[in-house]
C-alpha cells in the first residue's frame, strides 16, 4: 500500500486552475520534498490530501482511505503542519499541546504533553502564551504538536521557514529517524539543501507537476550543462555573457560565474571567446538543483507569455 496514491487532482478557484491534474505516489517510509515557486499550488495540493479541500476532479487514497469519503479517518492518522502558524496564540504552549492531546484522545494527556515539552526544550516556558513565541519557536511548537499523536503520514508545509540552522539540522535528523520507523513525510520547502535531504522530490509549477524523482535524477533529466567562469572583472562580463547564443542562465557565485545552457556544443563555442581573454578560465562544473529550478521557472514564464 502506498501512503499517498492520488491521481488527476484538479482544484479551481473561480476561473483559475490552481492544481492541474496532479498525480502522486509516495511509498511508506519515504521522505518526499515538494518544491515549486510561490503560488504554484503546493499548499493547495497538500490541503486536498488531508481532506481540507475537496478536489474538483480526481481522487485517490491517503493511508488507504478514500480522499473524499473518508476524510475523518485520514485526519486522525495524518499530522498536518500549516504554512502559517495556526495554533491558538491566546493559549499557553502547554494548553495548546493539551488541546491537541485531548482532540486525538491521547492518554494520559499530562504525560504526552510533558514529554513533548521536554523534547522541545520548552518545559520551563510551558506557561508562556504561544503568541509571544518567536517565529522560529512557533514553527517548532507547531511541528511538535503535529507529531504528538504519532501520525503515519506527515504533511509539512514549509516547516522550517524562519528556523535557525541548528534547529533545522535537528528537525531533519528527527524526520529521518521517524521515517526509519515507517513514517511517511511530504514536505514542501524552498530550500535546496532540504530538497537534497529528501529521498525524492516533486516539482510543481502553475499547478502542474513538472518533474519527480531523486535529486540527481531530476538534475540529470533536465539535461543542462554548466560552465564555471573565473577571472578578473567578472561583474562587467555578466551582461555580455548573457547575450551569447546558447546561454540560458548566468549567476555569480562568490568569485565565479555559473553559466548554464541546454545545448553543450553551442554553449562551449560561445564561451570560447571569453576563455581566450587573459586571466579568464572556463571549466565544466556540476549543474545544481537550483540551476534546474531556475531553468524550470524561466521556461514556465515563457509559456505564460
Amino acid at each position: 500500500m502506498h501512503a499517498i496514491d492520488v491521481h488527476g487532482l484538479v482544484k479551481r478557484f473561480g476561473e483559475k486552475t490552481v492544481v492541474d491534474h496532479v498525480s502522486m505516489m509516495v511509498e511508506q517510509g519515504e521522505i518526499v520534498g515538494f518544491l515549486g515557486p510561490n503560488g504554484s499550488g503546493k499548499t493547495t495540493t497538500i490541503r486536498i490530501m488531508c481532506g481540507l479541500l475537496t478536489p474538483d476532479e480526481g481522487g485517490g487514497r491517503v493511508l488507504g482511505y478514500d480522499l473524499v469519503t473518508e476524510a475523518l479517518k485520514i485526519k486522525r492518522e495524518v499530522g498536518y503542519m500549516t504554512q502559517r502558524f495556526s495554533f491558538y496564540e491566546d493559549l499557553t504552549i502547554a494548553e495548546n499541546l493539551e488541546f491537541v492531546a485531548r482532540l486525538y484522545e491521547l492518554r494520559p494527556v499530562r504525560e504526552h504533553v510533558d514529554r513533548t515539552l521536554e523534547d522541545l526544550g520548552l518545559t520551563s516556558r510551558r506557561n508562556q502564551l504561544a503568541g509571544t513565541l518567536s517565529g522560529g519557536w512557533k514553527q517548532r511548537l507547531a511541528l511538535a504538536a503535529c507529531i504528538m499523536h504519532k501520525p503515519k503520514l506527515l504533511l509539512l508545509d514549509e516547516p522550517t521557514a524562519g528556523v535557525d540552522p541548528k534547529a533545522r539540522r535537528d528537525f531533519w535528523d528527527e524526520i529521518h529517524r521517524l521515517a526509519a520507523e515507517g513514517l511517511t513525510v511530504l514536505v514542501s520547502t524552498h530550500y535546496m539543501d532540504e530538497a537534497e535531504r529528501c529521498h525524492r522530490i516533486s516539482y510543481i509549477s502553475y499547478g502542474k507537476l513538472l518533474a519527480t524523482g531523486t535529486v540527481s535524477g531530476v538534475v540529470r533529466e533536465a539535461g543542462l550543462v554548466t560552465f564555471v567562469v573565473e577571472g578578473p572583472g567578472l561583474e562587467r562580463m555578466v551582461s555580455e555573457i548573457a547575450r551569447l547564443p546558447g546561454v540560458e542562465q548566468v549567476a555569480p557565485f562568490g568569485a565565479t560565474l555559473h553559466v548554464v545552457g541546454s545545448d553543450e556544443k553551442l554553449l562551449s563555442d560561445s564561451l570560447a571567446v571569453i576563455a581566450s581573454r587573459p586571466g579568464v578560465t572556463v571549466t565544466r562544473g556540476d549543474t545544481s538543483l537550483e540551476d534546474v529550478f531556475i531553468q524550470f521557472m524561466s521556461k514556465a514564464q515563457d509559456n505564460m507569455a
Binding site: K75, S86, Y88, L103, Y104
Partner: protein
Amino acid sequence: MSHSRFLSLSRFRALLIKEFIQMRRDRITFAMMLAVPLMQLVLFGYAINSDPKYLPAALVTTSQDHYTRAMVSALEMTDYYRFEHVVGSVREAEALMARGDVVFVVTIPSDFARKVDRGERAQILIEADATDPSVASGAISTLSTVASRALLRERGITPTEAEANRQLEVVVHRRYNPEGISHYNIVPGLLGVILTMTMVMMTSIALTRERERGTMENLLAMPASPLEIMLGKILPYFVVGAVQVAVVLIASSLLFDIPFVGRMWLLLLAVLIFVMALVLLGYTISTVANTQMQALQLTFFFFLPSILLSGFMFPFRGMPFWAQWVGEIFPLTHFLRVVRAVMLKGADMPAVAFEIAVLAGFILAYAAIALTRFRRTLD
C-alpha cells in the same frame, strides 16, 4: 480505543476547555458580558421606565375661581405637572400638544365651580400625549385621587375615598396610543432584549474568529466533528447567558421592584431554553458569515426587527397582521409572552407550554441549520 464519529467526550472536553480559557483571557469581552447587561438594564430600565416628573402641561380654563387655583396647585404639588401654559381655548392647547410642547392638557370646564358648589358631580379632562405611554402613566395614575382630595379640602370637608370619587370625575384621554403599555412590561422584556443582543453577538463570531485568525485550518485538520465544535463553542456562552440572567433578574428586582407572581423554576426553564436558542442562532450566523464584520451586521439585521416586531416596542396585537406574522419567527416574541405571563400574571406550565415548545423548536431548527451549514473544508 473506540472512536465515535460524532461525539467523543474527550474531544468535546478539549474544545470546551479551550473555549473557556480563551473566554477568560479575553478580558474585555468577559467584562462586557457582565457589564453590558447591567448597563443596558439600568439605562433602558430607567430611561424607559422611570416615572418622569415635572412634565410640561397646559391648562385650559376660562375662569380663575379658587377651585381651579386649588386644583392647579394640587396637581403641581404631585411634582408630575408643570403648568407652563394657560390658554383659553382647546384649539390652542391641542396645537401645543401636537408640537410636543406639552405632554398634558388639563381642561377645567367653565361650569366647574358652579357644579362643585351645588355638590353636583364635576368633571375635569386630562389629555395625555401617550405616544410614549410610559411617560404619562405615573402622572395619570396619581391624578384622580389628588385632584378630588384637593377639591374636598378646598370645600372644608375631610375626604373619604368614596366621597371623593363621587364628587369628581377625572376623564383621561390617552392621545395617539390609546392602548398604553404597563411599564411592568418593560423590564421582563428587557431581559429578553439584552439576552438577544449579547448572546447572538458573542456567538456569531465564534467561527469567524477562528477563520480570520487562521486557526480554522488547523482545527479542521484535526479530528473534531462538527457537533463537537458546535457544542464546544456554544456551551461556554450558555453559561455566560445563565450568569447574565441571574444578574438581570437580581438587579431588576432590586432596582425596579417588579412584582414577581409566577413560579421561578418556570421562568428559569423558559430563560434557559431561550438562551440555548440564541447561542445556536449566533453560531448559525457564524457558519454563514465570512468575517467578524459580516457576523455583526447579520446580528443587527436580526436584532432590530426582533426588538421592533416582538411586542417589546409596540403591543403585538396592535401591529398590522403581516407584521404579527413576521414577528412570530423571532424567539424574542415567544419569550416575551412566556416571561410576561409567568412574571406578571403568575401563569403555570400548561398556560405557557405552547410558547416554550416553540422556543424548543427554534433550538432544533437552528442546530440543524448550523450543522448542515458547517463546512468541514476550507472551500
